[in-house]
Symmetry: C2
Subunit: 213 residues, 2 copies
């Protein structure tokens, strides 16, 4: 199947990329630059797309708002589920990314857009919830002449399940990028670093990521 | 009501802008630059937004594909409904524009996104059809913390009805821009010029637009 993968270079979408390529799908990776302070994830995306010889488009997006991810305020430390993590919500980000991916699907004649939302995401992000993804799948079926489908194959997996799956596929998980602070190394303390470390622990998989301090 | 209007500077959305402002809504106009050859419509949008003192954001979009509107091939002449006019379809354009408008709605705390699709559009453009707009309205209700609605108040109007409404509001309709060829003047022969001229005739309203030749 010919498909577009929204590919950030993070842990989840890197495992999904390998999963889809292993299934012999024709995957076109699409990465967005939207002013995120953690632009290091884009280097990770380039690394894996080149290694798997997957066509890779990097597209610049303008997104409104003043999320912490775009330098609007300080990235909060602490567990992902805390209320303060709302500061990392970029309004409409996934909606806009999925729409651009669907535009690429129409232009390329792809059948599917794949997206690495997982079971842990929806606590904070409304545009990772099943309800939202179902509505977007309806949109995908009618927005153009050909019907496209939206798929989030990891939507019922926890992050530790994804880590386990990535480990079993022998992926260099330590080269994926999660940290929202965008320093030289993963900070180890922001919400997404906390979630990353926890996932490796719960999965019982050695975490080879180098954290600060 | 606080709302985002997707505002091209064309005839339909200019009449809608005036209609919404007359109803005392707080309108934020949003215009997109997506490589269209008919970028003259943006000057028209600036003119009317300034005149009505409406906040106006002009945002640059990257859209894939090789539509005639983006210089991918020659703009076809002839009536809008002809099969050749499919060359003017930019894949996923309205989907992407509506998504960006919803992102702005979330960032601004607006209640509604308004969009000037009308009854004549759906013959060619799948992303002007009621079916598509209903699905996008469902998306608008769940993509963020607050429920936003999508409205296309002209969806049942024909273009001649919109011309009549604009004339009755004393709008300088000749300063709106329709032509897809993007010359100094409206060409008078491309699909959207044919549709424009016909609408004035059917409305029984004098067409003060200067056409070439």
């Amino acid at each position: 199947m010919k498909m577009i993968l929204i590919y950030s270079g993070g842990l989840d979408s890197t495992v999904l990329l390998h999963h889809l390529v292993n299934q012999n799908h024709e995957v076109h990776a699409l990465t967005f630059i939207y002013g995120q302070t953690h632009a290091r994830e884009i280097h990770a995306a380039e690394h894996f797309a080149q290694r798997l010889r997957v066509p890779h488009v990097i597209e610049r997006l303008t997104l409104p708002g003043t999320s912490a991810l775009q330098g609007g305020c300080t990235i909060p430390d602490g567990h992902y589920e805390a209320e303060t993590m709302r500061a990392t919500v970029v309004p409409g980000r996934n909606l806009v990314m999925l729409s651009h991916a669907l535009a690429h699907a129409a232009a390329l004649g792809a059948d599917l857009v794949s997206f690495a939302a997982h079971a842990g995401d929806h606590a904070i992000y409304p545009d990772c919830r099943t309800e939202f993804l179902c509505c977007m799948d309806q949109v995908a079926q009618v927005y153009h002449y050909e019907c496209v489908r939206l798929d989030a194959p990891f939507i019922k997996l926890r992050k530790e399940d994804i880590v386990r799956r990535g480990f079993s596929m022998d992926i260099e998980l330590e080269r994926t990028w999660s940290c929202y602070k965008g320093g030289e190394l993963h900070c180890g303390t922001c919400g997404t670093c906390v979630e990353r470390r926890e996932a490796f622990q719960l999965a019982g998989v050695p975490d080879l990521t180098t954290y600060e301090g």
